[in-house]
């Protein structure tokens, strides 16, 4: 047990080092922008997968990120509120809407929830698109300011108007969020979720208030979605909510693909899945529309044949070699 703790900590430190040094490793603005958006997507996707633990399949988290994005952007433009405050408000606003929706949505039977979240998210997008006076409608919202630079002792100034600066912002938020989500899954909260996912009736008879637990995961995931949206808003310094923007149904499906491809049973699954799909999408740009076709195909294959996703395959390879080593050790 102690050995695995050491390997865990070591690999985490290594990962931290790589992520901190990444801008200097890549040294390429285009790929940096890809990485930053990928980081924001990982934020969203991990929150969505957290909801899956209790059986809430939400297809509408993009809607909450849209709410967060516009909240933060509009507050910054009209009231000149500092980014650090609007970031929190964005998350809280998204969480509040999720709280309000949770009562009717979670009351409905299982698979209704997926449909309802999809409907809610599209409705939010349509509202943003049509409400021209507030959001700029079809021409979009422009002029969202970047966060003010921070002065750190010894490290100088971090300027968020540069891509590298913004990268560190996203990185910090991401690490913090992943930490919180991981802890949630490992705590009594996550244990209760496992029980509820297994059998709602039995959980009820053991005194578990199922509705509260489901609401917690929905609201917390939406909070992080709102924050992710705010990050997008201040990165792009503008927002659009037309059908081809990042707030549409295709993106929701893309997120589901990230979770499935990475492996929905593991915490690292959505992270790996998002990274893999992002890289594939970028590399496949010359192939154009064949990439989403391929992604869809991979989703289907994984759903039919391999339920563990990439992380699942890695585990199986890992335990195969592990067993091999044990047997070798025994025969010596």
């Amino acid at each position: 047990m102690r050995r695995s703790n050491i390997t865990q900590s070591a690999s985490l430190l290594l990962l931290a080092a790589i992520t901190i040094a990444l801008p200097h490793i890549l040294n390429n603005d285009y790929w940096m922008s890809v990485v930053v958006f990928m980081g924001i997507n990982i934020l969203l996707v991990c929150g969505i997968r957290n909801m899956w633990l209790v059986g809430n399949i939400s297809l509408g988290q993009v809607g909450f990120s849209l709410v967060g994005a516009y909240c933060s952007g509009l507050l910054a433009i009209h009231f000149h509120i500092s980014f650090w405050v609007t970031l929190m408000i964005a998350g809280v606003a998204a969480a509040l809407i999720a709280l309000v929706l949770s009562y009717p949505f979670l009351k409905a039977k299982g698979v209704y929830f997926a449909v309802l979240t999809l409907a809610a998210s599209e409705t939010m997008r349509l509202v943003a698109w049509h409400w021209s006076t507030l959001t700029g409608g079809a021409s979009g919202l422009r002029g969202i300011p970047s966060p003010n630079p921070i002065h750190l002792p010894f490290l100088g100034v971090i300027d968020f108007e540069t891509l590298n600066g913004y990268y560190y912002l996203v990185l910090a938020v991401l690490w913090l969020t992943l930490f919180i989500l991981y802890k949630m899954e490992r705590s009594h909260l996550g244990f209760a979720w496992k029980c509820i996912n297994d059998s709602v009736n039995l959980s009820h008879s053991l005194g578990v208030n199922v509705f509260v637990y489901k609401t917690i995961t929905f609201v917390s995931a939406s909070f992080f979605a709102g924050i992710a949206g705010a990050l997008v808003a201040h990165l792009q310094c503008g927002l659009a909510s037309d059908p081809s923007s990042r707030f549409n149904i295709a993106t929701s499906i893309y997120f589901v693909a990230c979770i499935i491809v990475g492996g929905d049973k593991y915490f690292a699954g959505p992270v790996i899945g998002t990274i893999v799909l992002t890289i594939l999408t970028e590399l496949g740009r010359p192939l154009g529309a064949y990439v989403p076709m391929l992604t869809g195909g991979v989703m289907i294959i994984i759903a039919i044949f391999l339920s563990g996703g990439i992380v699942g395959i890695l585990y199986r390879i890992g335990s195969f070699f592990h067993n091999l080593l044990i047997l070798k050790g025994q025969s010596n």
Partner: protein
């Protein structure tokens, strides 16, 4: 406030035409859900692809539009059967996997359409030219033709379900799957038939919608959502619910945008769903 009766009639007429199109989609979704327990997300893409197929049959092959519609319906029925056999059957019975499969199909079809058809909007010839005027409201005749065709399809479906052995077996499967199995009804045949009928209905709706407005790559997504909201309102597995819900939705979409912002129609639909679910979580005609 002076109520312009003509405008109201026009809006209601438009809404009813829209409503019948929605009914075709919602019926397919309701059938597929009640018999196969699957949320067919790719249904909207079937609708869209059928419209494009009809377009190409008409322009490139010079076919008559009615012929083209029948062929595209048949083609989509075949696609549906293939989907069922190779994609849905292996994951039958599980909860998450069929959802992933149908989402994957959505992606594949959406991208495929971009590749095969390009991202261009197309238009289909109207089914009838001219309009009639009732109470000062101008109702284009092609809307009426669309309603007639939709009615026709629904009627055919009704006769099939009531009158044929397979149709009655489908109704039995929808109400009680285990009981149907015990009576020797073959679930594979049921699933294949369901997908065929559902896709054919969606295809018909796609073509008809194309004649009423335009054929666009995004039309599938928009209509799919409405289809799902309709079956949630009507009760997930209920065919009657699909019909009633479809008409309600059509009227909301036809009437409200005339008097208020289109966004209000979307919010309105969502609010109806939320309020309904609080009062009756199974939907209007759903089973608890």
């Amino acid at each position: 406030m002076h109520l312009d009766l003509g405008l109201l009639f026009q809006a209601v007429g438009n809404g009813i035409a829209l409503g019948w199109l929605y009914i075709l989609i919602a019926l397919g979704l309701a059938l597929i859900f009640s018999i196969m327990d699957i949320l067919q997300f790719a249904h909207g893409e079937i609708y869209m692809i059928a419209a494009y197929i009809t377009y190409f049959l008409c322009t490139d092959l010079g076919m008559n539009i009615y012929m083209a519609m029948i062929i595209s319906m048949a083609a989509m029925a075949v696609v549906g059967v293939i989907m069922e056999r190779f994609l849905f059957r292996p994951v039958r019975g599980k909860f998450l996997n069929p959802l992933i499969v149908s989402l994957g199909c959505t992606y594949v079809f959406m991208a495929g359409a971009t590749v095969w058809f390009g991202l261009y909007n197309r238009s289909l010839p109207k089914l009838a030219i001219g309009s009639i005027t009732i109470f000062g409201g101008v109702l284009p005749i092609d809307r009426l033709v669309v309603v007639l065709f939709s009615l026709g399809f629904v009627l055919l479906l009704y006769l099939f379900l009531k009158g044929t052995k397979q149709g009655q077996a489908m109704v039995a499967s929808a109400q009680n799957r285990e009981g149907a199995l015990l009576r020797g009804i073959n679930p594979n045949t049921m699933a294949a038939l369901t997908m065929a009928i559902g896709c054919a209905l969606a295809a018909g709706a796609g073509t008809l919608a194309g004649t009423m407005s335009i054929v666009a790559p995004g039309m599938g997504g928009l209509v799919l959502l409405k289809g799902f909201i309709i079956i949630v309102i009507g009760g997930m597995g209920s065919l009657l619910g699909a019909v009633v819900g479809g008409l309600i939705m059509g009227l909301v979409d036809g009437v409200i945008p005339v008097y208020a912002d289109p966004a209000v129609a979307s919010i309105g639909a969502l609010l109806i769903v939320i309020v309904l679910l609080i009062i009756k979580p199974e939907g209007l005609f759903g089973r608890a």
